[in-house]
């Protein structure tokens, strides 16, 4: 069924009797052409684009829990394409362009809201680095502009301009950056995929892979064996666990990233802001909560919860940047498990097992990448060649010395 304002009105007048289930609850078929492991944002987007763009018939998404239960439902909802390196920028800009048409494409309002993102500048060195970045963005077809201190002040007069330990000297702004209602992304893709015949199978955990003569045959699951010609893995957070079924070790560690939301407040922050002198970034949801975060906890973890030092560190950054936040209350904290890769950039690639494909290593860039990740992974699954915007995301880049190290931190995942 098609969603629209008229439909909402019509249903309202008839007691909402006509709304259909957002997706079916199909039983697994014995075999599929494509199995996507992981019913998070990337897995659902992959299935959606496979079905829509590449006209593929029998597709299933296997989710161990509920749809959208991964990081797509646990992040701080930011979208942007303000990356530094050529390996990343075209991909994230492609993603941003997909965001811009997404809701009309899958007929679901995910509240894609391009209210702008600024990266604050506190030193000349930061300005130089962000100038290099901004120019790279523009060369890649993205938008970027440099804001003066006064322009930032006009935008957010309540920031700490006059008593700051690290003065605000300006900002790099991407006006097309913003936020999206994260759960709605998963639901929109799920509904769109379901409408195109994709089987979305919840509470179905993959427990093994059947590989014969170097070729994937299917997967063992908590609901029995399911055959497949091709299997795509999109289980960020659990990548190492799942790929171990195929005997692979990955250039990835799992780390916990905490996210935070305040009590609902009347609008104070219009766009997205990142503090360049502390670990703090913030936006405000349409519901009124300040949604913010900082660094990962910094140790390997599969527990979806964090510890106190990071909470304090983030609050300190918040108070340093916007001293009025002291009387706002932190409502909830939660943790998501990040695939932290060895250079801070993702992997979308084939594996040495025929028919087995991998998508992961998103660090905390995964949410904003969802549409492009789905499109590029679908492209790779369907065509066996990397999508033109994702050619750098190969496993062998580490062996060849072609790292995409945005932060210049080297092979230490918790620093990316």
């Amino acid at each position: 069924m098609r969603y629209s304002g008229f439909r909402v009105i019509a249903e309202a007048l008839t007691g909402h009797k006509g709304w259909k289930p957002m997706w079916r609850n199909p039983a697994p078929q014995p075999e599929y052409d494509y199995i996507i492991i992981g019913g998070g944002g990337h897995g659902l987007a992959t299935a959606y684009y496979l079905a829509k763009e590449f006209g593929q018939a029998r597709i299933a998404v296997l989710e161990k829990g509920y749809l959208g239960g991964g990081n797509v439902g646990r992040n701080t909802t930011i979208i942007r394409s303000n990356y530094l390196l050529d390996g990343n920028e075209p991909f994230y800009e492609f993603s941003l362009k997909l965001w811009e048409g997404l809701e009309q494409d899958f007929n679901y309002n995910a509240m894609v809201s391009q209210r702008g993102i600024i990266n604050l500048i506190h030193s000349d060195a930061q300005r130089d680095a962000l100038t290099r970045r901004g120019n790279g963005m523009i060369l890649n077809g993205a938008d970027a502009e440099l804001l003066s201190r006064d322009q930032v002040r006009a935008m957010y007069p309540f920031l700490n301009f006059d008593n700051a330990r690290f003065p605000i000297k300006g900002a790099l702004m991407q006006r097309r950056g913003g936020t999206v209602r994260h759960d709605a992304v998963a639901w929109g893709y799920a509904r769109g995929a379901d409408l195109r015949g994709v089987d979305l199978i919840q509470n179905c955990e993959v427990t093994g892979m059947r590989i014969e003569n170097g070729r994937i045959k299917g997967v063992e699951t908590s609901r029995g064996f399911i055959g497949a010609k091709k299997v795509g893995v999109a289980v960020a957070g659990s990548s190492s666990k799942v790929m171990a079924f195929a005997g692979m070790r990955l250039p990835i560690e799992s780390h916990v990233l905490q996210a935070f939301v305040s009590e609902g407040l009347k609008p104070v922050i219009d766009g997205v802001m990142t503090f360049g002198a502390g670990h703090f970034y913030v936006s405000q949801s349409d519901k009124g909560g300040l949604v913010f975060g900082g660094d990962i906890d910094g140790y390997n973890s599969y527990a979806q919860r964090g510890n106190l030092p990071v909470i304090e560190d983030v609050a300190e950054g918040g108070m340093a940047l916007m001293p009025m936040i002291g009387r706002a209350r932190l409502l909830r904290t939660w943790g998501g498990i990040m695939d932290m890769s060895m250079d801070g950039s993702p992997i979308i690639d084939k594996t040495q097992v025929d028919g087995l494909y991998f998508n992961g290593g998103w660090c905390y860039g995964g949410f904003k990448a969802t549409p492009a990740s789905g499109m590029c992974f679908a492209h790779l699954l369907a065509r066996d060649t990397p999508h033109p915007t994702a050619t750098a995301y190969r496993f062998d880049r580490f062996l060849k010395g072609l790292m995409i190290d945005e932060k210049g931190q080297g092979a230490q995942p918790n620093l990316h």
């Binding site: 523009i138 305040s262 009590e263």
Partner: protein
Amino acid sequence: MTQTNRISGGQIDRSQTLSFTFDGKAYAGHPGDTLASALLANGVRLMGRSFKYHRPRGPLSAGSEEPNALVHLRAGARQEPNTRATVAELFDGLQATSQNAWPSLKMDALAINDRLNAFFTAGFYYKTFMWPAAFWEKVYEPIIRRAAGLGALTTEEDPDEYDKAFAHCDLLIIGAGPSGLMAALTAGRAGARVILADEDFRMGGRLNAETHDIGAQPGSDWAAGVVAELAALPNVRLMPRTTVVGAFDHGIYSAVERVSDHLATPLPGKPRQTLWRIYTRRVILAAGAIERHIAFENNDRPGIMLAGALRAFANRWGVAVGDKVAVFTNNDDGLRTARDLQAKGVDVVAVIDPRQGGAALPGIRHLQGATVVDSAGRLGLTSITVQRADGRRETIACTALGVSGGWNPNVSITSHHRSRPVWRDDIAAFVPGADGPAGLVAVGAANGALSTQAALHTGASQAMAVLEAMGIAAKAPDLPQAEDADLAISPLWHVPQGKGRAWIDLQNDVTVKDVRLAHQENMTSVEHLKRYTTLGMATDQGKTGNVLGLAVMAELTGQSIPATGTTIYRPPYTPVAMGALAGRSRGKEFKPFRLTPSHKWATEQGAVFVEVGNWLRTQWLPQPGETTWRQSVDREVLATRQSVGICDVTTLGKIDIQGTDAGAFLDKVYCNTFSTLAVGKCRYGLMLREDGMVFDDGTTARLAEHEYVMTTTTANAVTVFRHLEYCRQCLWPDMDVQIISTTEAWAQFSVAGPNARNLLQKLVDQDISDAAFPYMGAANITVQGLRGRLFRISFSGELAYEIAVPARYGDALIRKLTEAGAEFDAVVYGTEALGVMRVEKGHVAGGELNGQSSALNMGLGKMVSKKKDSIGMVLSQREGMTRDDGYRLVGVKPVDPKASLSAGSHFMEIGAPVDLASDGGWLTSKVYSPHLGSDIALGYLKAGDQKIGRKMRAVNFLTKTDTEVEIVSPHFFDPKGERLRG
């Protein structure tokens, strides 16, 4: 100022009257009141508006689980949005205003949403507002954002201070109700280190709200007695007004103490709140239980509240919420409300009890087998509609209704480690799961032991068990007699209804209909239900509504409640002021300052300082008549190159490396060789990461056979030291190497320029002629008798030295240097001039040491020795890092000397299109060179070493500049290095 609804009794101090205002109107209350109890005493039931429909709301509860009565407390810079009136302690002069209502609480324009509720169902916004696409940001969203949100945050700086503190104990007890007090008594008497924390300002928990006795005395008196005994025990720390908000790993708990929130403003020097980090061996959770309501049509009107709250207001605060009171309960605890209020002379018009066959309450109209099906009263309850056992409906006039659907053990903290609560049919509620935080046990009502007797018993017995497990001998206390009534609950979640709305989550306006719709649309998993309807996402985290919502979904799916699922609570238990989490790290105290030895002198000279990490360094020293920074910096550079300049370089990291393997150790950590360095000499060293990228650089001197001193960049001093410890402990554990940082021990100054030697020779006691102390020399010296160090190294390209003396003499040394330099017109230069001279010499620094560049990229590839194993040597040879067309460090000059350059510009071929394909690299650092009379820059250019002499363009889209440049050697100045050897 008449407290019309104030009745006798209660734990308030009637000898004092406090005046306060709500929405500008003045009222009176007493010490011991909360804002809610005082307003109710004054006959005010309407205190807020709901989130979505802006429905009029009064308090649902008498505690921190409150979803409705949220107000702005205080005003101006101290305004606190979303403050629960039910826990805001009354003080004289308290100012509160209503929120989320315009123009007024009584006449709220957005109450129109309530009329349009048919459209505003769960998730309606996902289905519309999509056309035209551009309208979302421009039209729809601004309207939604303005309507959304609850309270308003001030944009002024929070004027209050916050402390952070640490506490240590054997046993943390959370909650000072009957079970918590009993546990504390048991552990306290045994001599254990105990912390007893309670969010209330009066300890005793439910005992303060009940009338039944413990032993021979009223429960509240018994509690006061126990608190007094505990207060006298040195090993027990009582923390009232302290909410334990988070459970973290290995026995670390966070708690917020509201030190001053019960005062108009904090006392001078005192914090508003203190964040406690409590380290404990064991935890007893005695947080009690939270009552839940029953969903029926229009069950959200002011005057309708939880039965236990209605009772608490009467018993603890001496307030009758209404003159005519009814009770709607599916359990015996609710009956207490009727009994207590009747005993206090309040007119109890009816008890509506869906259960049948029980004994009827004496002297009260007890309608068994009946339910409340609707209510009336726009801004406050005026009547309820009751469906009696005989099926007939009756309207009963009342101004207050107490509702009890049972009690939910307060499991919140137990699920902070994601443990899922487990269902218990006998009390129709979830109790803590077995896999909660290690070392935590729940007792009393928090663990489903709902009677007072059971609370006392489990508090004592669990304390005994915990103490034994810790090896602390204890004696079981005598248990006083207390009520031990059965809850006798017969679950009723919502009254079967017709058209109207029955509220589950009051703050977020989630009704039974919304849960139905979620089910209809297959959003049946608990997480989908929660996220789709926003059930439990409000500021109360669904403390009163979650289980209700689950139960309704269970009914719809035909599954049991536990099979339908549970939602787990996340930290914090109740919302925490950000200020408390930040403590004193704010404003200028966000991070500590690091000051250089010449800071005092530079301040006297009017220096301009710049933040370099936590350091403050002199950026330049303006002289009289100089109006722009460029004038000062040009002067500093020219004077240095013409005669001599002095610069404080203390911030560079210094690490003493000693031991018989020191040289071999350095050969491992540097890609070039140091074991062959002669004593009394320095060498430039390049340190790689294992991935072959440059990690750090600096000069390292050999002061003795087994003694080196390494210098690092200012930025990497700490990380390099950490790396060296890693190398000597983890990689080469048997090397005889000892290291220690001496960064702060020495005040170190660079003295550079043709007259550097002449200047220094005036102070240094030894002969430092070129013969006696050649280029790259290093020695321990004396400076006018004072122990010091001298290195002949140059970052500026001039004849230069770095001279060091003990830090306490750094101030004296800068004064001596400038004094001795007067005859040479010596200048003191800052980081800007330093930067100019290093770029003129093509030395890499911040912009080039970006962690993404190899030795080869920097033109230093030959430094990586293949004759020995060193960190990064192998992986620096990967194909992607050795390609001829990779980035190389180059110098950049504008073809037109007047043209300006900007760092971050990208290289483009002349004539080629300005696009990604012809992106050749970028300018890393740019300065103005007063010698060359133009901007110059360093940059990374693809195959740059093969493009020397070529003309290109430096394009900066951000500043809209496009400059023709010439690619040159990075060594702009004195490329042969004759000056520094002079």
